[in-house]
């Protein structure tokens, strides 16, 4: 699949105009087709172009939603290329199958997999181009490549130098090295350092273009008329009133409702508000019913159940259960607890929005999307056009958190464009719709039975988890997300008898990926139970964990955290410290919390995290991502819960979803631990540690053991 034509400018001033090159796949090497194109720049594969004046253009494949990959992935390529970072301009690619994430096998952003997925291919691309530039210089000077060195976009041999720009066209004609030599990370000049991002200035000055900001000649703007309920069947009424309202150009059916299109959003929104919806069939279920079904499934061992982890590696559910039950019976002490987490909303700062245009036999989409490839295929399917008649441009995302992996909002814009061909049509949701039509983090429950032997060591862990299955929701088990596909997660702790089973429950709530996905509920279950077991064993929570760990990276983050927190601190009235261990996405994190309890009131004063993501390409960014992940997990732990009343979600605005405000922000400190040499995932691994750390700290502060999030639902007075 090739991508031709201009990319959509990133900023109001059209900072970047790049013509994407075509890509040729070589069997074992980076996709390379070094070609010259209309603007005189030379393309080296799909990611890199070098202009005659030496300016470097990088197309980045990943969504930029705050993780820093726009800048960071480009750095990976430029590091190996040995170009001058100051001369680099970065652009957001459009949908391009040649830019699929090698690990995810699609051009998708998620699973903390940007660096892990693209690291190798971007290094190879940069290194191969560097070697070709060197070879071109060597040829020109009649020296060997070994006599040449590169630095900051210049090839040097003795007292002769040539800029990459002067060499690019010739270099492109040379053979592409299949196995270019990569730098030793110890000699990295760019990676491992911190510097302001390339897109920071545009974001600060209001010039960066998000999905909601797309402006095109002749563009119409639409609002959505959708039922309040997140699920159920509904009939629209009042469409004629909307159609005949002042300034309305069209009202067309789209996924989930109707698009009401005008010259400006406010006019469209007022008309859309004239549309109402009546239930067409059964009344949609409420939270009481949903919760009852989940409790029933949790309690019913005869319900369809998958064995996630069998005792001794066994694969028979009944045999493994019996084995675990026998071990429990002979344990010296036992813990039996039910734990739960609620539905959560994403609450991205930018509401859902997308623009599409059907004109001249082409369908063009401008989307703040985590899944441009899916959007492209969807557009082709809905329009009947061949995919090479579809162009998907990408914008910055005002937050993603997994929400913009779904393509519902893009589908609506596509359908509106097909129904109203000609002008570009931008659809924007209002905030209430954003909260009511989310793909929620699924509510989930666990039943844990664990046992200690006479020496106070964990002898058996039996866990049953239930909840809606994302794998079921998206129609396939996502191979890259195995813990999430099966609802369960392996324990990091050494327990001789481990039995984990999961029973997916079918409920009507639309669910999706929410930053850290199934790691969050699972780590909440495990890390609160571990503290309860430590109490049973009469052990310090840190010592108890360390006694059950043989994984050096888990041990290292816990020990670093302990130092950061000065664990154990002397007990003080109303003050409690708690901790939790997380892992996932190739990374490890230990999270600690200090809380102050005054009666029923709880204040989170400090959060610490020791984060091991292996090789941290940009240390300060990693710390900030962890800080952001901790803040993201903190709000919902305190007060995040979406309830449904006849299908209508309680998430009516940003104040209803446990979004952390400045008033609720504790002091957060993050230290990096280098536990490995490969980059691990950064954006999500810290999220799950916050809720259990706080719940554990609350107990340490003399408060109650909360087993059902959020804390506010237990009557605790929190500040979010």
């Amino acid at each position: 699949m090739t991508q031709t034509g201009k990319t959509f400018p990133l900023t109001r001033r059209g900072l970047l105009r790049v013509v994407a090159g075509t890509g040729l796949c070589l069997a074992a090497g980076p996709a390379m087709s070094a070609e010259a194109a209309g603007d005189g720049a030379t393309g080296f594969g799909v990611y890199l172009r070098i202009a005659p004046d030496g300016a470097i253009s990088i197309l980045t494949p990943n969504a930029e939603m705050g993780q820093g990959t726009f800048d960071g992935l480009a750095k990976v390529l430029v590091e190996e290329l040995d170009a001058d970072w100051a001369r680099v301009t970065i652009g957001l690619s459009g949908a391009n199958a040649a830019m699929a994430n090698p690990k995810l096998r699609s051009q998708t952003t998620g699973n903390s997999e940007a660096v892990r997925g693209y690291y190798a291919i971007l290094r190879k691309t940069g290194a191969a181009a560097r070697e070709m530039l060197v070879a071109a210089a060597a040829q020109r000077w009649g020296v060997s490549a070994a006599d040449c060195r590169t630095e900051a976009g210049v090839v040097t041999a003795g007292n002769r130098t040539l800029d990459y720009g002067a060499l690019a066209a010739d270099a492109a004609k040379l053979p592409v090295p299949i196995a270019p030599v990569l730098k030793d990370p110890a000699s990295f000049r760019l990676l491992g350092k911190d510097m302001p991002r390339k897109e920071t200035s545009a974001k600060v000055r209001g010039a960066a273009i998000y999905g909601i900001d797309v402006e095109l000649p002749g563009m119409l703007v639409g609002a959505l008329a959708m039922p309040d309920a997140a699920y159920g069947k509904f009939r629209a009424a009042g469409l004629d009133a909307a159609r005949t309202a002042e300034g309305i150009k069209g009202v067309v059916p789209v996924l989930g409702g109707h698009a009401v299109v005008a010259g400006d959003w406010w006019t469209a929104q007022k008309a859309a508000a004239l549309v109402s919806f009546e239930v067409d069939g059964a009344t949609p279920a409420s939270s009481a019913d949903l919760d009852a079904m989940m409790r029933k499934t949790l309690a019913d061992e005869a319900a369809p159940t998958a064995l996630f982890l069998g005792v001794g590696g066994g694969t028979d559910l009944a045999a493994s259960r019996q084995s675990a039950v026998r071990s429990l019976a002979s344990a010296s002490k036992r813990l039996a607890v039910d734990v739960s987490v609620p539905y959560l909303a994403h609450g991205t700062m930018e509401p859902m929005a997308c623009t599409a245009q059907m004109a001249d036999g082409r369908l063009t989409i401008w989307a703040p999307t985590q899944s441009p490839g899916t959007v492209s295929k969807l557009a082709a399917k809905l329009s009947g056009l061949a995919e090479d008649k579809v162009t998907v441009h990408r914008t910055f995302l005002g937050g993603g958190f997994g929400r913009r992996w779904n393509t519902d909002f893009a589908q609506q814009a596509i359908e509106a464009a097909i129904a109203l061909p000609g002008p570009p049509i931008k659809l924007i949701w209002n905030r209430t719709q954003d909260g009511q039509h989310d793909f929620y983090r699924p509510a989930a429950k666990a039943r844990i039975e664990a046992g200690l032997d006479a020496a106070g060591r964990l002898s058996v862990w039996k866990m049953r988890v239930t909840g809606q299955s994302i794998a079921q929701a998206i129609g396939r088990a996502p191979e890259n997300l195995s813990p999430d596909g099966t609802l369960a997660k392996e324990l990091p702790y050494v327990v001789p008898v481990q039995h984990v089973e999961s029973a997916a429950v079918t409920l009507p709530v639309p669910i999706g990926f929410w930053r850290s996905v199934a790691h969050m509920p699972n780590i909440f279950y495990v890390e609160t139970a571990m503290d309860e077991l430590a109490v049973l064993a009469g052990a310090d929570p840190l010592a108890f964990r360390l006694a059950h760990l043989d994984d050096p990276r888990s041990i290292a983050v816990l020990k670093t955290l302990a130092r950061m927190m000065a664990w154990p601190q002397k007990p003080a009235d109303g003050i409690g410290h708690g901790l939790a261990l997380t892992n996932g996405y190739g990374s490890w994190c230990a999270v600690g919390a200090r809380v102050r309890r005054q009666g029923k009131a709880l204040t989170v004063e400090r959060i610490w995290a020791a984060m091991d993501c292996g090789l941290a390409l940009e240390p300060e960014n990693v710390r900030r991502q962890a800080q952001g992940a901790l803040a993201f997990g903190l709000g919902p732990a305190l007060d995040g819960r979406v309830l449904f009343e006849n299908g209508v979600a309680s998430a009516l605005n940003l104040g209803d979803i446990g979004a952390l405000t400045p008033a609720g922000m504790p002091r957060i400190e993050v230290e990096l631990v280098r536990g490995g040499d490969e980059p691990g995932g950064v954006g999500e691994v810290a999220v799950p540690g916050v809720a259990p750390a706080i719940c554990n700290a609350l107990v340490a502060a003399g408060g109650e053991r909360v087993r059902d999030l959020p804390l506010s639902a237990a009557g605790i007075d929190v500040t979010v």
């Binding site: 109001r12 920071t200 406010w266 700062m349 905030r431």
Partner: protein
């Protein structure tokens, strides 16, 4: 009434005329009529602050201010106008501090910060924390606080 009317404002130092229904929030007049998309839509109810602008020197959440309620010739400053001021201390501090993650809330944060610093030129950390109420879903609050302290220092340096 919803019929579009003419409105005259001074936006970022320039006289502007636009046509809108009088109940159009200033936010949407700026974005859709004047194509100034730096001011963002986050909640529509004045809760998040992403739409923060200055009107006649006051910090205002533009999503809750109807254009029909503004005085003729009201002076509006948006992020685009603030950023055009050479060496604006808040802009400088935000860029030096590399504050944004996704960045969507940041123009509103900056406009709120600029207004806050006008009234509190030498704020303590506690005052900053109490005075800034804009929402950030990426959790950049600590970087925002530091940038405001830095902007205060830059501002004092300029005057001192």
């Amino acid at each position: 009434m919803t019929m579009a009317q003419d409105f005259e404002l001074e936006v970022n130092g320039r006289p502007m005329r636009l046509k809108a229904a009088p109940d159009t929030p200033l936010l949407w007049a700026l974005r859709d009529m004047l194509k100034l998309t730096g001011t963002k839509f986050g909640c529509g109810v004045g809760l998040c602050g992403a739409c923060t602008v200055h009107v006649d020197g006051e910090v205002v959440r533009a999503c809750t201010l109807e254009i029909g309620s503004l005085d003729k010739g009201a002076k509006v400053t948006t992020i685009e106008g603030l950023a055009a001021v050479p060496d604006h201390p808040v802009i400088k501090a935000w860029e030096e501090g590399d504050v944004p993650q996704c960045g969507f809330c940041q123009p509103g944060q900056i406009m709120a910060a600029a207004g806050f610093l006008k009234d509190n030129p030498d704020p303590s950390a506690e005052q900053i924390r109490a005075g800034m109420m804009n929402l950030c879903r990426c959790g950049t609050y600590q970087q925002i606080e530091r940038a405001i302290a830095r902007a205060a220092a830059l501002q004092a340096g300029k005057q001192g």
